[in-house]
Symmetry: C2
Subunit: 355 residues, 2 copies
């Protein structure tokens, strides 16, 4: 058995990279899990019946490659002209991967704001592309540089609300950015159901605007892996060539379709999360934390006296998982997901003994 090192076989870009590390997903032990922005409540009840129906029909056949049942329902809900404006993915990470591969070639570049979702950078690295980070202004708007044309610029990612800050860019600013950019602007709306407004209709105004969504957060379906993109049909048509033929499975297509069908559930769940976010924000502020006002299902906080990493570790020792993140040249801090009221009370109570 020869166990020589194999990075010789992988592309140099892959050998050189560390790889994106997702938040901890403990498979054993009892944790209050406030580290990966999951919904603390179970998903819409209708998904159970949808899954049963697929199991009755059987899993031996391939799924619909385009997941048209979901596309049709999503087009209705978002008031799009047709299903051809929707592309389904195995989680919105799949959508982000497809777009990176479709638009950005080796040595070309991808733009993203800073601080934001670390995965964008990993996607550029895997693609052998460069990435260009544009720092947010102090008020969490974006400087004009974000819309500046550049020759090799092929894609811009804009999470809105942003992670880890929970802040948002206005619809007007996004339209203006898209007008100036020479490339598609992917507005990543993973957290938008917890926000005051969305850009889901903007692809109708500019073919350069693409909007991605996920069912992982607001629909409580992180375990299912389902996301989608809204864009003009001629854009979707190109992206289809890049996706795996059967990127979504039969169970998730059926469950996701049932989930978005229940907009009443979504509104109720959203209201609960937004109320608890207020509870969390105010509780942290009372303990002396600086908290960025968030439109997502998490808040970013720092403490003027207490370093963040020991707080993360102390909470983890008490079986409360939050996300410690360190953004060089900006800040480190804690990103705390909005759990149930009880979970947040427990977290705040532990923190009150630590600061």
């Amino acid at each position: 058995m020869r166990m020589t090192m194999s990075p010789q076989f992988v592309r140099p870009e892959i050998a050189a990279m560390d790889g994106y590390v997702p938040g901890e997903q403990p498979q054993a032990g009892k944790f209050i899990k406030l580290n990966t922005n999951e919904n603390p409540y179970p998903p819409p009840p209708g998904i159970r019946g949808a899954i049963d129906e697929v199991l009755q029909r059987g899993l031996q056949k391939y799924p619909d490659p385009m997941a048209n049942a979901f596309r049709m329902r999503a087009a209705q809900i978002h008031e799009l002209p047709s299903k051809d404006w929707v592309l389904c993915g195995n989680g919105s990470d799949d959508i982000l991967t497809i777009c990176t591969r479709a638009f950005v070639g080796h040595g070309e570049s991808l733009r993203l704001p800073y601080p934001s979702y670390i995965l964008y950078r990993s996607l550029a690295q895997i693609q052998g592309a460069r990435w260009e980070e544009v720092r947010f202004n102090a008020d969490w708007s974006l400087p004009a540089a974000f819309g500046e044309p550049a020759e090799s610029l092929k894609l811009a990612f804009l999470p809105n609300p942003n992670s880890p800050t929970g802040t948002m860019i206005s619809r007007e600013a996004i339209l203006e950015l898209a007008d100036r950019l020479p490339c598609p602007l992917l507005v990543d709306e993973a957290y938008v159901d917890f926000a005051d407004y969305s850009c889901i209709d903007l692809p109708k105004k500019n073919e350069k605007i693409l909007v991605s969504r996920t069912l992982s957060k607001s629909y409580g379906l992180a375990g299912l892996r389902f996301g989608y993109l809204v864009a003009q049909p001629q854009v979707i048509e190109q992206l289809v060539k890049v996706k795996d033929s059967y990127n979504c499975d039969s169970l998730s297509i059926a469950a996701a379709t049932a989930a978005i069908d229940d907009q009443v559930w979504l509104a109720t769940n959203r209201d609960k999360i937004v109320a608890t976010r207020k509870h969390l924000t105010e509780g942290l502020e009372k303990l002396g934390f600086q908290v960025i006002p968030s439109q997502a299902n998490f808040v970013w906080c720092t403490h003027p006296e207490k370093p963040a990493k020991p707080l993360y570790e102390a909470l983890k020792a008490e079986h409360v998982l939050v996300r410690y993140m360190n953004y060089p040249n900006w800040s480190d801090g804690l990103r705390i997901s909005v759990g149930t009221d009880d979970q947040i009370s427990a977290c705040l109570s532990l923190l009150s003994n630590m600061v």
Copy 2:
């Protein structure tokens, strides 16, 4: 609303390609479906309980990013030293995509036999890579050229059994190819459970040998999307950087683990398929077809007098779907999946009125 054409935004390689077209997956109408090599029988019964258990636990949390439950069980079944020899994917297409992205850079090349699985070429195109087809010998062995080193050669795909022919390369030949090749050799064993032997243990002998498997065919789980790769741990470690963080969902991880746990079901199902394959092969031969002896759950056939495409169309009109395929400079013909005995009898009976 500006509806200009957008191929200007996608990479030229993507704009230029047609895109892989999977076999027809009719979502309505009653078809005897013998076109995409699905298993005609329902999957192992244990998956139902496994899915119920996940639904009880809830889908709101992210899945285990590495699907370790499956990896551990697969390592036991395949007598691998540890779970670190296994990488799970969203179908084996995901595995093939991950490997192409990890090993083959822009402008580099990928080798595949001809005729074989069309998707390999699409994967090269998406990656902006070149592909080099090496034609099978008349006896379905591979010429020495398949193992010939070449400077920019970064990956070789070898489906074994091959599609659309159902033929196999020997274990000895594969070991020899891997020794000569300057790059990884991915042995795609999508159909191997219907064959006489496998190469699943060969990664232990040579780190350049990687073996992919799928649960779509032999486990009757095409609708679930689950595949995996067996390779040395230092290879897997690099590939993990390229996969989407949560590429497998909670339901499919649980169901796939329950499925491979049932090796008795697998053996019984395999025996049924192999017996029906004999029935299909002999029936076709009786009707004057030339049939390549197959080790997979499909057979490739041509008729000396009757062109294949009208036969495909006539069968489709009778609601029997088989796959018409045309390989330039080789042949066109019909690839017929092994269904139940009744389905195959129905197909043969229709054909007997057409030839």
